[in-house]
Symmetry: C2
Subunit: 202 residues, 2 copies
DNA sequence: ACCTGAACACCGTTCAAGT
DNA sequence: ACCTGAACACCGTTCAAGT
């Protein structure tokens, strides 16, 4: 048949991305296949390889967008008010983001790149941007603590929030009940902050 | 050719499990394939299905053993001494277990069962057993707190430790440096315990 | 009873050939 | 330039046939 040009290159790219995202939302990374994407967008499998290097490239693109969305959601958390309250709100935002679309969220952690070094630099940067938001929220509570200690605390607290979020998003082991997750999250943040603020004044 | 009986049913089962475990250690869940397992143990692919229902069944078996090993490692943590120290040691044990064999560890969280309800009950029980160990360690620090609150705190603290462990085991986003993980873990436990003990006396 | 190997319905990816 | 569809090297799983 040859060329059809029903869509521009950009349109086709978006078509592929949105079909893939739906597929992942339906049945996770395991439900994603080049041939199934092609079927859904009415192109032949080979066409995907004009827009993306391979499936890993496509998945990394989707993951990048997911991180952008997360950053945007975190940015929407209001800045004023009680500093502790703000940390709680950021954590709750992170939890909701994971809970709202567990399959898509898990993508970030179940998808492996064989080459190991293959994770794009932009990826790391987005995670750093996320951590900076936590650091900003901790700073008003940090008293005389140095920048390094704030950095470390942000990482620790965020990792904790992440653990809770990912356990509640992974239905496999329902150790963390979804309804209960918010209560547990507040407990984690409250107790961690108590120790954090105590360190400051020690 | 037909029957060979080079191995008993049990031996064959173990052969399959150990070949699979090696395969996962080498290249993760993605590197596991029925045909490759068969190649390595010198049987035809069909033979696997005499020992296991399917690949998911095999993987769940491996995961069950992994949880047993983790419980055993946690049980080896000495019981006496400073209660806070004990919590730190349990956390460190958990972290090491994940770090020692990241690919195998990640199996627990990247492997999905399509049927959803498919997670065996023994699975949940093993996680509960794990949480009981944390509860036992928290109890001496809990003062007048009720059993429910201890239960909740164990879940929260464990989820936090899990987040740190899984982020450091997942090389994808090297936000948590492996060498630094132990420091961060101690920070998490120390700060959380500070809040936990404060609640008790409030 | 146990194991094989062909068969079926799938994959990801490449690439010559067509428009 | 863009897209197709056949081709290649893989999958998981089943099952008739063989010993």
């Amino acid at each position: 048949m040859g060329r059809r040009s029903l869509h521009t290159a950009d349109e086709l790219r978006e078509l592929i991305i949105s079909a893939s995202t739906e597929l992942i939302q339906e049945s996770g990374l395991g439900g994603l296949s080049a041939r199934e994407i092609a079927r859904r967008i009415n192109y032949s499998p080979g066409t995907l390889y004009n827009s993306f290097e391979n499936l890993d490239d496509l998945v990394l693109t989707i993951e990048g967008r997911l991180l952008d969305d997360l950053l945007e959601a975190l940015s929407a958390v209001p800045k004023g008010g009680d500093p502790r309250e703000r940390v709680h709100r950021l954590a709750a935002c992170y939890l909701s983001f994971a809970a709202d679309n567990p399959k898509l969220w898990n993508l970030l952690f179940e998808h492996y790149i064989p080459d190991a070094h293959g994770v794009p630099e932009s990826y790391r940067q987005k995670f750093e941007a996320l951590l900076e938001k936590v650091e900003d929220a901790l700073r008003p509570l940090a008293g005389g603590l140095g920048a390094d200690e704030i950095k470390r605390s942000a990482r620790v607290l965020w990792a904790g929030v992440h653990g809770l979020s990912s356990l509640s998003a992974a239905d496999k082991l329902s150790v963390i009940d979804a309804d209960e997750a918010r209560t547990l999250l507040d407990d984690l943040v409250r107790n961690y902050l108590a120790g954090f603020e105590r360190t400051r004044s020690a």
